[in-house]
């Protein structure tokens, strides 16, 4: 852990914070920085970075939590699958508590639905091999980071000729969401904290056209306190010194300009890029991943029919607006009253990466 502790040095943290605070001193107005990654949300709160920085810098959490951006109809579909006989749902733990229109996987599990928590999609393939008489459906949610793993699992299933393994793909791509946010008139973003993990896969290039078109300073940043502080300093430099907005990479020890070619080719092999519905952002063109036709035998949507209930949303829940940084969790009437991590109404309260959950847990007021 020596390697990690060096990125958590108190003295250096304070030095960088001082530099940032001096830079913004003469700046007129607030500076809104948005991250679009659940791990960033979590690290920023967990390390207490914002408590070191000037009030002029505002931290916005964007649609970076995979569970949170997954729309109700996907959850309802997963719930419907979990009610089928001889079916096992394999999923990352976060999805269990997400409320669908009338139920959740956690409740289905308590009523006898077979729901298993896995840490990797490959584990769900193992479950399929162990239970050949059951259909095993893996809930494929997540961005460019998790999708390559799912792609490689589908390829393994094809190679090993496993016929009872399926994926319900709800994978999404981050750059189209960033574009949608910038197109929105409701929100003002002065700079993007670009996601470190997603960038490790996609590299720097996908951000170039965004920065060129919208003139938004963007820095790819890592997750340790010093990463975040250094990256924020780079952003503030671009913003306060009126530099030409550009894509900078603070997280060079992990993110290469061209990304991870092997992972990208896996995505290309297994998935088609299609339109996709995001909670809060609606349907965005070319923002999701659907399993290619040649692998359609693993596509749950195409192979397994079931009746899905009519989607209902809680009209009071403002997760959609929270996800876009338009509103803060405490502006929601449900927040911390009826909606708590114990009894979440909206998905942003479920995942530890969700904005509402982070606000609740670390009580940012």
């Amino acid at each position: 852990m020596k390697y990690i502790t060096e990125y958590r040095n108190k003295n250096v943290s304070h030095k960088i914070a001082d530099v940032i605070n001096t830079l913004v001193k003469g700046y007129k107005g607030k500076i809104a920085l948005m991250e679009v990654c659940g791990t960033h949300t979590h690290s920023i709160f967990r390390s207490g970075i914002m408590s070191l920085l000037s009030d002029k810098i505002e931290h916005l959490s964007g649609p970076g939590c995979p569970v949170c951006v997954t729309p109700n109809e996907y959850i309802d579909m997963a719930i419907a699958y979990s009610r089928l006989p001889d079916t096992i749902i394999a999923t990352f733990g976060d999805m269990i508590k997400v409320p669908g229109s009338t139920s959740s996987l956690e409740k289905e599990k308590a009523s006898g639905g077979k729901v298993k928590i896995v840490y990797s999609p490959l584990e769900s393939l193992k479950i399929a091999k162990k239970n050949p008489e059951k259909k095993v459906i893996f809930l494929g949610v997540g961005f460019e980071t998790t999708a390559p793993l799912v792609a490689s699992t589908i390829l393994s299933a094809a190679e090993e000729k496993i016929n009872n393994f399926f994926v319900l793909s709800g994978h999404k791509l981050i750059p189209p969401a960033m574009t949608a946010l910038l197109e929105s008139k409701e929100i003002n973003i002065d700079g993007f904290i670009c996601p470190g993990h997603v960038s490790a896969i996609i590299g720097e290039k996908p951000y170039y056209p965004i920065v060129e078109k919208y003139g938004i300073p963007s820095v790819i940043i890592g997750f340790e306190p010093l990463d975040l502080l250094e990256g924020i300093e780079m952003l503030i430099n671009q913003i306060t010194k009126n530099k030409e907005p550009s894509v900078e990479n603070q997280y060079k020890r992990v993110v290469r300009r061209e990304g991870n070619e092997q992972a990208l080719s896996l995505l290309d092999k297994v998935f088609d890029i299609t339109d996709s519905t995001w909670r809060g952002l609606g349907n965005l063109t070319k923002s999701g991943l659907t399993i290619k036709n040649i692998y359609s035998k693993f596509d749950a949507k195409k192979q397994i029919n079931c009746k899905i209930e009519k989607t209902k949303e809680n009209p009071v829940c403002i997760c959609g607006e929270v996800l876009c940084g338009i509103k803060k969790p405490f502006e929601c009437k449900l927040f911390s009253k009826t909606c708590t991590p114990e009894n979440p109404i909206g998905p942003c309260m479920v995942s530890s990466e969700g904005t509402c959950s982070a606000y609740y847990k670390f009580k940012k007021e």
Binding site: S47, A110, K361, F362
Partner: protein
């Protein structure tokens, strides 16, 4: 306003995780119904009146850990140490245990043999006797291998009463060693991760006895389910003081720290089975630490925080980089069936 019970409401795993869901369940289903002055204290053990200068301490706990054998212990050692530690943190010397088994049909006899041997060894080590018990066998599939319930009786020495009410601003918070090992050891075994992490499962009385002899101990708790964070939040809840913790002072083994990083767990919320958190008088803290370090279970003891006048009712953590954040009780289910 009381929430109405709905017919479709069911018990979920999070109702047993030691967090908020469990407290509200206990309040509604246990405290409000069984209501009496001993129970209502909601201590780790019940304090029963015995004589003028002595009190009897009585507690019970059930063990459903899965897997039943894990690095550093098994369900048997846990069933002994878990229960007697609940007595010890009250300041009571554990004396007698009951031990009941609920066994699933088909369990290999040699597994039961191993478990009862562990119980024997653990109770010998802790100097307690198993004096009564019960055995039930249920059909295959109606239990998971074996569940154990133990109840314990101890005697509280002299008129030494630990209480939250004794806590004052300035008091120091001490823990006897590195946190988070038990939960992660069980988890790594269950998920087949290769780590060197061993459960810290151990009987705490001998250490606690020495701590009490130093004096100045105001209150103690063992941070099992829900971890250190949950215990401290319980101490601060509704109190007229706050708690300040220092992240850099938290003793956490490198292995636990890296494993937690990888899995996205916070060691502050991970269960321990051989740890005691003590709130002690500030003037005695360094002497206490010295005394604790002499005991094998207190070698890594350290002061992790203090009682503050500000932030009433809250636990505030000063993070490694000198920022601050609020520590809340565990919500949801970080790791099921770890004890």
């Amino acid at each position: 306003m009381k929430k109405k019970q709905r017919e479709e409401d069911k018990i979920l795993l999070s109702h047993g995780s030691g967090g908020k869901a469990m407290s509200s369940l206990i309040k509604k289903m246990v405290v409000e119904k069984f209501n009496n002055y001993i129970l209502n204290e909601l201590n780790d053990s019940a304090l029963l009146p015995a004589s003028k200068d002595k009190k009897i301490c009585f507690t019970t706990d059930s063990y459903v850990v899965q897997p039943i054998f894990f690095p550093g212990g098994d369900i048997g050692t846990l069933a002994v140490n878990g229960t007697i530690n609940d007595l010890a943190v009250m300041g009571a010397k554990p004396l007698y245990l009951s031990c009941s088994f609920i066994i699933e049909e088909g369990l290999e006899m040699n597994i039961l043999d191993r478990i009862t041997n562990s119980i024997k060894t653990a109770s010998k080590k802790a100097n307690v006797e198993i004096v009564t018990g019960d055995t039930k066998v249920v059909e295959k599939g109606n239990a998971d291998k074996i569940f154990i319930n133990t109840a314990g009786v101890g005697v509280m020495q002299k008129d030494f009463l630990l209480s939250k009410k004794k806590i004052q601003v300035g008091d120091k918070i001490i823990i006897n060693g590195e946190i988070g090992a038990h939960g992660l050891a069980v988890m790594s075994k269950r998920e087949n991760f290769k780590t060197d992490i061993k459960s810290d499962c151990a009987p705490l009385w001998s250490l606690i006895e020495q701590m009490l002899s130093v004096g100045g101990v105001k209150f103690m708790r063992d941070p099992t389910r829900g971890g250190v964070a949950t215990v401290l939040c319980e101490i601060a809840a509704n109190a007229d003081f706050g708690i300040q913790l220092h992240e850099t002072d938290l003793p956490i083994h490198d292995n636990v720290l890296s494993f937690s990083e990888i899995l996205g767990l916070d060691p502050l919320y991970v269960a321990n089975e051989g740890k005691v958190i003590a709130v002690v008088d500030k003037d005695i803290a360094s002497v206490m630490l010295k005394q604790m370090k002499k005991d094998p279970l207190g070698k890594e003891a350290s002061i992790i925080g203090e009682i503050t006048k500000k932030n009433t009712g809250r636990v505030i953590l000063e993070t490694v980089i000198g920022g601050t954040r609020i520590i809340d009780r565990l919500t949801g289910n970080q790791l099921p069936r770890i004890c």
